[in-house]
Every structure is written in structure tokens, then in C-alpha cells.
Symmetry: C5
Subunit: 309 residues, 5 copies
């Protein structure tokens, strides 16, 4: 695994950065991020409902999966770490620093997601809690009325995270009254977001992917995105829960055709009973981190095989 340490990481933090990146990517350079910030972003909509097993309603469900599956990092808000971290000290965490609910519509206010804590607080928290915190995350809504504010916050968070040897993931969505709905998944637009990410100096950028029209052609076109991102690793969102096999195929195409550097999956993992969720997470890691075929991964999902590492 070849590591390109950002220049914003000072000499005396290079070892720390290297360690955090190795943990986060399980030594592969690829990132399998288990995304768990939905309790704020989507309120309780993702956690109860006709097709959602009752396990899911308990916030601890996240931690049970994250501690038993072979994930890279579990990304969530600091409060959940406050409440459950003591019982799950080994999970590699990525603290999501901003979050907003879905209550305000775009007509009412363009999206703005405010930083909850300063990086200084996070760095001190890591030290004090001894939790296995390897990085931080932050969302930017590109094209929003508040783009300028979020650029400022994101740039400072990335800079200060690197100063402390932490890795960074920036969620970027083109969203706001200036963006036509169909452009939110336009590949050329997403490539623009990828270019912004590398200009911000983030290690990884979490971007959307046009699953609805997925095909080999789309996966191929999506190379515009990974090219624009340069040395910043692109990781694609999973989005709404999808049919497993098809979804695994999408991820495989992202990694092997589009040349993404990983995935950020939430609902497609946690909206299942614990054991199924763990198997799904492992199936995703199989493809993302360990170069397994879709078939192998599916066998891991169904329980026919186990994920080796």
C-alpha cells in the first residue's frame, strides 16, 4: 500500500496519519465506510417501517454491526460515541462533524449544515476518551446559498485534522435552489464536485452515483469523476436499499471500471437484522477491499462463504 501523505500533515504526525489510514483502509488503501449519520439526517424514517426489522430501531444496532463486521470505519456523530463508545472501544470511528435534519425544504432554506464542534475539541476528545478515532467527516452542499460558509468550515477542518494526523472524508452533494434535481446525479456535475474535493485537500470524497441508470456505460463514464478527483479517493454512496446482487455488481463496477477508492454504505447494510447486516457488510468489504468477485461476495452475503481476513 502506497501512501501519499498530504503536505498539511506535519512531520511529527506522519506516523499517526499513516497508522490511521492503515486502520481505516485495513491496509488496502481502499475505504469501506459504514455510514451511520442518518438518525439526524433522516430522523426516524430509516429505522422503523414495514420492511425494516425491529432490531434496526435501537441505536446500538449500528455498533453491533460495526463491531462484528469487517468494516473500514464507522462514521457517525460524536454523541453516539459518547453513549456507546465505552462498550465498543475497538471500532475504528470517523466523527461526522456536521449534520442537519430533512425537515426544512429547499424552498424554505437552501441547505446549510453547521459544524457541531471545533477540531480542537475532537482532537482532545480522542486523547481523553482513548477511542479508536481515525478521522473526521464533513458535508458540503455545493451550489447552496451557504456554499461559502461550508467551504470555509471544510477547509479549516481538513487542515486541522491533518495537523493532528487524522484522515478526512468530505461528503459533497450539489444541492440547493441553483441545482436542477436531475443535475444532482449528473456525472459531469459530480466530476466538478470531485475537483473541488482535491482542491480542498481531502483524503476521500463521498459522492453520489447514478444507480438508477446503472450500466457498464455509466460506470465507464464515471471515470470522469475519479479522474477529476486526482489523488483524492472517490467513495460512492450506497443510497436507498437496493437488491443485493445488483448492488454488489454496482460496487464491483465502481471499483474496477470507474476506479473509485471505496464505498460509503448505510441503509443497504443496517436496514437488516444483525446477522444479515454483518454478512452484507462483509460482502461489500470483500469486493471493495479484497478484490473478490461479485459471486464470491454474494456467497458471503448468503452465508455460503466467509470473508477471510
Amino acid at each position: 500500500m502506497k501512501i501519499n501523505i498530504p503536505m498539511s500533515v506535519p512531520k511529527n504526525k506522519e506516523k499517526e496519519y499513516r497508522k490511521n489510514l492503515e486502520i481505516a483502509t485495513r491496509g488496502t488503501g481502499k475505504l469501506m465506510m459504514f455510514a451511520g449519520d442518518q438518525k439526524v439526517e433522516h430522523l426516524n424514517n430509516d429505522f422503523v417501517g414495514p420492511n425494516i426489522p425491529s432490531d434496526v430501531a435501537d441505536p446500538e444496532h449500528y455498533f453491533r454491526i460495526a463491531s462484528q463486521a469487517k468494516i473500514g470505519v464507522f462514521a457517525t456523530q460524536i454523541g453516539l460515541l459518547d453513549m456507546y463508545g465505552r462498550d465498543y472501544p475497538k471500532i475504528p470511528y470517523l466523527i461526522k462533524i456536521n449534520s442537519k435534519t430533512n425537515l426544512l425544504t429547499q424552498d424554505q432554506r437552501d441547505p446549510m449544515s453547521e459544524r457541531w464542534l471545533q477540531m480542537e475539541d475532537i482532537v482532545q476528545y480522542k486523547k481523553q476518551s482513548k477511542l479508536n478515532i481515525v478521522g473526521v467527516g464533513y458535508t458540503i452542499y455545493l451550489g447552496s446559498w451557504y456554499e461559502a460558509d461550508m467551504f470555509g468550515q471544510a477547509a479549516r477542518i481538513i487542515h486541522k485534522a491533518h495537523q493532528a494526523g487524522l484522515i478526512t472524508v468530505i461528503w459533497i452533494y450539489t444541492r440547493g435552489k441553483s441545482i436542477k434535481p436531475e443535475d444532482e446525479t449528473n456525472i459531469h456535475m459530480i466530476a466538478g464536485a470531485a475537483g473541488v474535493a482535491v482542491c480542498l485537500g481531502t483524503d476521500f470524497v463521498k459522492l453520489t452515483y447514478p444507480y438508477d441508470v446503472h450500466s457498464k456505460k455509466v460506470a465507464n463514464d464515471y471515470k470522469e469523476v475519479t479522474t477529476a478527483a486526482g489523488r483524492t479517493g472517490v467513495i460512492c454512496i450506497g443510497g436507498k436499499k437496493q437488491t443485493c446482487k445488483n448492488f454488489l455488481q454496482c460496487i464491483h463496477d465502481q471499483i474496477h471500471i470507474s476506479r473509485t477508492h471505496g464505498v460509503a454504505i448505510g441503509r443497504n447494510i443496517y436496514q437488516r437484522k444483525l446477522d444479515e447486516a454483518i454478512r452484507m457488510a462483509n460482502a461489500i468489504s470483500a469486493i471493495t477491499l479484497y478484490d473478490h468477485s461479485v459471486k464470491d461476495a454474494y456467497d458471503i452475503f448468503t452465508g455460503k462463504k466467509e470473508l477471510g481476513k
Copy 2:
């Protein structure tokens, strides 16, 4: 009493946090909060009127009740502590850090309640005044145009309160032009607020409860809320003054069916003459803290029985 100390409480403040939580919950883990921030929130409307005894008009009424009844904490603004605290040094206080009046309508401005003091001021105030301050409170209006600002303030307050060994209660109301009036008491929506609370890492969250349609079914449905809150304790508001027996039954159902962790009662206690208010507070504590039956509690209210502890 089993305590889950948040990771944001540093090692050298764990003892302080434990002590504060034990005081606040009278060693039961449940919180009976006497809510007294209405002089700002409702101006003088709650304190004079046809059915309100004249005792109530004097701000000291709050303190007389709080010092004589068996409450958990008395939550109010710092100014009242400034003015009356010297004469009531033993009451366990929770300082409500933000407050707003009801003068601005939602049409004029979405609700925003601004922090009055920094946590550093509160921590120093506790030390200097030697008052029995065990925690702090803060209100968030979820879905308001200012949600982002309040998230930032709340997250920092919780983090810094824990750093000082204080407990936290976050009031969360879904309110603003984005929220339909009927959704303010929608259980699924309240569950969303509960999920936000645990992501913020607060010890307790004060939430609304649909008293108007109260029934065993509602109390049962309300489990969605306590489940979503995970390790954050849900405490329900009391709302407008209600018939006593019915109200006590509601609380009993909240605790025993919905599995809430306490209550936050204001008007149902203080809009009475002193002795009746004390008996009412004790009746509520009987159910909330000491597992009494509704009948027992009602006997305490009427003066037939006394609350033991």
C-alpha cells in the same frame, strides 16, 4: 442504579458526574425535573389569571416549592439563581441556558433561542456561588430556519458540560414554518427528535407527548420514541395544567408502558397554592422515581399519604 458515563466526561470528572446524576435522579436513575423557565417563555401569562392562586405571581413561589417538595432538579434561568439562590442553597439546580419569549410569531420569524452565557461562565459560576448546580439545559427547535445554529450551540454545550462533570437535558421541539401544527405531536416525528438527542450525546431529552389523545395505545406507540433515544433518557413535558388523576395516570403509563426516564413538569405543579403544589410534586415523584401506583400517588396529592423518601 447503573450509570453509563458518557465518553465526553473526562476521567477526572467521572466522580463529579456520578454525584451530579445521583443528586438529580435522587439515586434512582430517573429524572423528575421541575421546569421553571416560563417567566421568559410565556411571560406573565402562566402566573396571573382567573384560576391561578395569587401565590403563583411571586417568582419565589418556584423556590418555595422546589425547596420543600421531593423533586429531582429545578430547571430555571441563571438570573433567578442570582436573586434567590442565596436563600435556597440546597435545591439541586439545572441552569436553562437559552430562552425566548412567545411574542414573535412563527410567521414573523422561525423560532431561535440564543445561548445566554458560555459554558465557561456557568462552570465558573457554580464554583464561585457554591450553589448546588448539577446540570444545564438548552432548547432546540428542530426544523426551524435556525436549526443549524441551535445544533452548533447544543453540541458545544453538551460537550463542555460533560467536560465539567455536569449533566445535560436538551429540550427538543419540532417547530417552525416547515412543520405542520399536527406534526408537532406526531409520535414518529418525536421519535426523530429522540434520535437526534442521542446523536448529540445528551443525558436526557425533554420531549412532547400527545396528551390530548392519550390512551394505552398511545403510550405503547410512544415506545418508538424511547427506543430511538437509545441510551439517552426521554422525559416528557407536562404541558398545560390538567386534571390531576388523569395526569398521574399518563405519567404512570409513560414510565411503565413507554419506558420513559422521567418527567419535566411546570404548570401542573406551580399553578397551585404552595402546599398543594408540594403535594402534587411529591405525587409525581412517587410515580416517576419510586414506582408507586397511581392510587398511592393520588393519595399523596390529596394529603392522605406522605411520600416516604
Copy 3:
């Protein structure tokens, strides 16, 4: 004189606070505040005009009155102290920390009055200038779009003034697009403002009084206000210049019927020639501070008697 020292005054500043309060109230516990912030609030309208003697136009008129009459404190902006303080070092001053002009109408912008200096600056200024500064003042427009901002500024000013042993007076007016003009002098509304004041922990609150409809009944109804204020002293504004005798009667009723703790008078004093202004100020002090009858006070105003102390 019994003093209730706020808990926000630290032990080592209690002596300083006690001294300031005694100076401000001339040892009576009642406050006769000579209000002199109109050069900003009303521009030059109060200082030149058909019925205004030419003495009034010179800013030094304020200082001549304040130094020769038996007032409690003279409240004004720091700049006037900068310019005239050296020649009037003995006047007890209360620095009014915020001020705005009357140029912007409510239709254009809801009222917002911004803090001019930080409390740290004021405290250092007192020390450096050796002026007899005993306290600070700040205006809140309750119900304004900017209520939240002013709550934050006021709470911090009160807290930090007390930390330095200074006394505080908060001006509270219900004003803004949310307030119907007739409600600005509604007693129940004013009582709400009084309740806010005690929640902020201010020593005194300057409130409006319905002079237009003054009668014994009104004075009696106004007890709702002083009751709501609890341990915070209510002082009433004087408002526009009024017939002297009637005005003195009003003040007498405020003190003896409504149980206010003083007055805040500007135009009714300074819109007169120097000697008449001094006699008027003394007449007001006679009633407010020294329990004189209206008749006695009027004799002091006309020069028949002198104010003893």
C-alpha cells in the same frame, strides 16, 4: 437598607457591589436615575424647539444638572464621560452600553440596539479614569426580531458587571412588528417584561408606565408588574415632559401604591433651565428616595423648600 447581593457577584467583589449600590441609591435602596441617553436615541429633537430653553442644547447641561442636583445616578453613553467626565468627577455614573437612533422605522427594521463596548473595556475604563462609575445599562426590545441577540448580550453584560461588582439596569420595551402599539403600555405585557428581568438577574429594570390613563386604579393594577419582578427593582420611565404636579403625583403613586423601586427620568428634568431642572430633580428625589409627600416635593420644585439630605 437591606441588600440582596446577587450570586453572580463573587465574594471578593461584594464590598464593591455594596458600595456601588449604596452610592446609586443614596443609601435608600431606591434608585433615582437621571436618564441621559437621548442625544443618540432621539437625536437633536429633545434639545431644541419652541418650548425648550436654550440651555438645553449644550451637552454639558446634563452634567451641570447631575452635579448639582441630588440624583442617584446619571445614565449616559461613555463618549459623554470621555468628554466631560474630567470636569465632573463626582457624579455617580451608569454607562449605557447600547443605543440606537430613531431614524429606522419599525417597518424597515425591527429594533436592534448593539452593544458598543465589551464589559472588559468598561471595567478597565473605570479603573483607568477613576470616574465614579457604579453600574451599567442596556436596552432590550422584547418581541423584536432581534430579541435573541439582545438577550444574549444583556445576559452576558449583567453577568460580567456583577463579576466586577457593578450594578445593572436593563431597559425593557416590548416593541417590534410583533407588538401592537396599544400593547406597548399594557400592564400585563409590562409585567411579562418584569418577569424576564428577574430571570436575567438584573438589579433594576426600567419599564414603561401607562401615564396617559394614570389613576389610582392603574397604579394599583401596576402591582402585577412589581410582583412579577420579584427581587428585581422596577423603575418607571418618565416619558414625555408632563405637568409637574401631576407627574409628581404619578411617581408618588408608583412608589407607594405600585411598590416600584425608583424612577428613570430624563426629559421631565432636563428640558428646563438649569435651576428649574435641579429643583425638579430634587423634587423627584424627595418622593422617590426620602418619602416626602407630593406637596412637599412640589414646594421643593417651586423653591419654597429645600431638599434636606
Copy 4:
């Protein structure tokens, strides 16, 4: 020359303040300010055009005049000092701390002029550059939507300038959607601005003057302004370039009838060839500082006489 040192100047800076005031007023107590902030305020409109000599276009024109004429202070932005100060170290400078262009119309946004640097920066800059900086200037738009912001900035700048022994000039214009155009030069309104100035504690205030209707009566009415300003010195703007003789007469009337403390002249000086500009500046100083007659001053302008001091 009698000096009234503001109380905000600390003891150990009184000597510095006295020196700066003496330099600025050339030992006369009156201020002849050469105003040079138009390159931002009016962009290039004042510097090229049919009746404007080509000398004027070069920013150095300002410095050539200021270094050769007998002015009090040259007021301009810090950037011009950065670029030309090294070659003109002897000019007494007053740094204009805020400036805005004329591009945004009032319909689009009420005027707001933001502080460019903190007073701490200015104080350090003076020390480091050894330039002859004697004071600072700041503009307030009274009645603008942003009045509150500018009040806060101005008050702090004056306070901190005095703390460092610097003198202050506040430009005050009544301007914004709340102000009728004809009221911008209404004498009663300007007197209001003068009253604000003394409440802010500034040494000098730069105010408008109704040149269009100038007459002895106007000059006499203008005494309302200088009276309202009290111990703050009023200096009048020069405005657009005018016929010389008439203009000198106006200044003479301002000084001798209205009792102003000086002038602030820009275009009437610099929109001329160098030698003519120098003579014009000297003619103005002759009247403002040295009590010359209009005739004498005009002779200085035409080159028949020389200004003695």
C-alpha cells in the same frame, strides 16, 4: 491652545495624545484635514474627466500635495501608506479604517462600510513603520439598516484609538432608505448626527454642510450643529468642486459664524494641477487655522501672497 484630553486616553498616553493633536492641528486646535479616500469611495470618477488635469490620475498626486502644502492631516486608506509612505515620511497621516465603493445603490443595500483592520493592527503598524500617523477615521451611515453594526465598530475604534493616544475623526452621514434625500443636508438632522458624535466620544466629527443654499442665515443656523456637538469639534466636508472665492467664503463663515473646528477638503483641493492644489490647500489653511480673511486667502490661492507659517 487648550486641550481637553478624553478620559479614554490613559495617563501614560496623554503626552502622546497631546503631541498627535498638536501635529494634526498645527498647534491651533483647529483641524484642516485633506481628505483622500475617494479612490475607493468614488472609484476613478474623481480622477479622470474633461475638467480634471492629468496630474490627478496618479495616486501619488495626493502625496505630492500633502507633502508640500500646509495641511493638518492627510486622511487615506492604509494601502496608500503602504505603497507611498516610505517616500513621504513626514506627512501627518490619519488612517481611514473603513471604505466602500459607490456601486451598490441604496435600493440594493443600505450603506454599510466595514472596518478593514483592527485597531491593534493600526497601532502596531504605526510603531513598525515609524510613519507619522496621528489618528484614525471611520464612517457611520446614520439611519442605515446597518447603523447598529457601525455604532459598535466606531465605539470600539474610538475607545482603542484613545487608549493608544491617537486622535479620532468620525465621518457621519444620515443615509439609507429611512432618510429622505432632502434630509441629508437638513441642519436639524445634521445636529442630531453631531450629538451622536459627542456621545461616541470622538475628537472630531466630519459632517455635511448645505452648500447649495449657503448664506449667512444658513451659517448662523448651523450653530445648532456645533452646539449639539459640544466638546467634539465639527469639521465640514467640502463636497463637489466649487468656485474658489465662494468656497473660501463658506469656510470662513463656517469657522467664524457657525463656530466649526475645521474642514475636511478633498476634491476642491486635489482636482487641480499640483501647484494650484498646493495654493488652494494653503488658502484653506489660512482661513481655518490662522484666522486670515477671505481676501487674504484668495490672494494665497492666486499666488499673490504666501501663507506665513
Copy 5:
């Protein structure tokens, strides 16, 4: 090469400033800036398309050109330095401190570009990374609703950059709802922007140039701009990709007729294959820095000649 060191550069940083200016201008006093901030400003639009070679899509393309061509400085966002700087340590960098995307239209919000990092961060970054950072850049939209905010940020950035011995380039565009589209390239308006630049004290200002109507007359009229800028060097943007010969002629006229101090070229260089891009950059440097004729420069572009120095 004669250097006018700004007064904001302290004595002990003069050597550093001199060194940075010499590097940036290759010892000529003229600045050939390779502008590379388009990945944020224009998203991916400049990097993929029918007439854009595939080399261009990779962010490293910038660095390959900048390291092999004879440019003055390469201006880009800090994140690109983070990611690629380690492999290109010798390029002279100018960090562009603010950037925005083109997604929000002017109808939605007037342009505002927010500072990403504080100058303190940049100064420390230079020291820590040992990258060859010689200066910083910042964009102001003159006439925008947010002009005041950007003035404040720009003034502080210039002041603090100079304090650290770094050079500064301010991009100024007249843009916003207050500006008619045709005025964006109006020479008199651009001259206004140039005047603002020197009042801010920046070393260089990047301004627009009316290429569409280019002629000797335009180049001559443009002297209004360089005159208004005084001792601040004007460098013109290159704008959209143009025919090479014509473009080189324009630059030659800017330097020799308009008396500009350099150029800031982006798309006209990088929207070519690597070798062609290098030759184009060298052709531009030939004219800008080394006084070559257009013909010579064109020969350098076509490869017939090589740029000597």
C-alpha cells in the same frame, strides 16, 4: 530590478519579501502568473470537452506544466499543494485563499467568496511544508452585496501576508446585481478597481481586459487602469482560450502600450497537451518577462525557438 517594499512589511521580513518577489518575477519585476484555481471556480467544465485534450482532466496536468515551463508563480488552492506539492517542491506557489463555484447565479445570490484559511495557517503551512510558497491571492467582487465582507478579508490578508514577507495578488472583478454586464469590461470601471487595489496596498492586482474589442486604441485607453493603480502592478487575465498569435499580440500590447506588470493566464495555457502547454507558457513569459517580440514568442510556441533564460 527596483523594489518598492510596502510599509506593511516589517524590517525583519524585508529580505524574505525581496526574495519572494524576485522568485515570483524571475528577477524581472514583472509577474507571469499561471492561474490554476478553475477546478473550483468552473468545476469540471474547463477540463473535459470536445476541444480539450485528455491530458487536461488530471489535476496533475497543472503541476507538470508549472514544473517544466518558465512561469513566475503557479496560483492554486492549498488542497492541490497538499496532494501534489511533495512531488513538485520547486514550483513557486501562490496560494489562492478564497474560491467559489459558478453554480449560484447572480439572481440567487450576489457573489461572495469566503476565505478558506487564516493567514496564520498559511504562514505556518509554509514553514512546516517547506514548499516554495511566495505569496497569496484573494478575489474581491466589487459592487457585490458582499463587497464590505470581502474588503475586510482582503485588507487583513494583505496586511498579514506582508507582515510575513509574502507577496499578494488581489483578483478584482466588478460583479453583482449592481453591475450591468457590459460594465464588467468597461475600462473606466476597471480603472476604479485598480484604484481600490492600491488603496488596499496589494503588490499586484489581477484585472479583466476587454479582449473582444482589442485594438491599439483599447490598449492605449487601458493606460487609465495602470495609472489609477499607481505603484500596484496590474496583471491582466487571459480569459477564454483564444487564437495564439492574436493572444500573444494582446499581451505584448498590454505590456508595452498599457504598461501592465504582467499576466495571469490559465485556460490559454493548460487547455493543451503538456508539451504545447509548456511552449505556450514559455511564449507568454518571453513577452511578459523578457521583452521578446510577438514573432519570437510565436516561434517559441511553435517550437522553432527556445526560451533562453
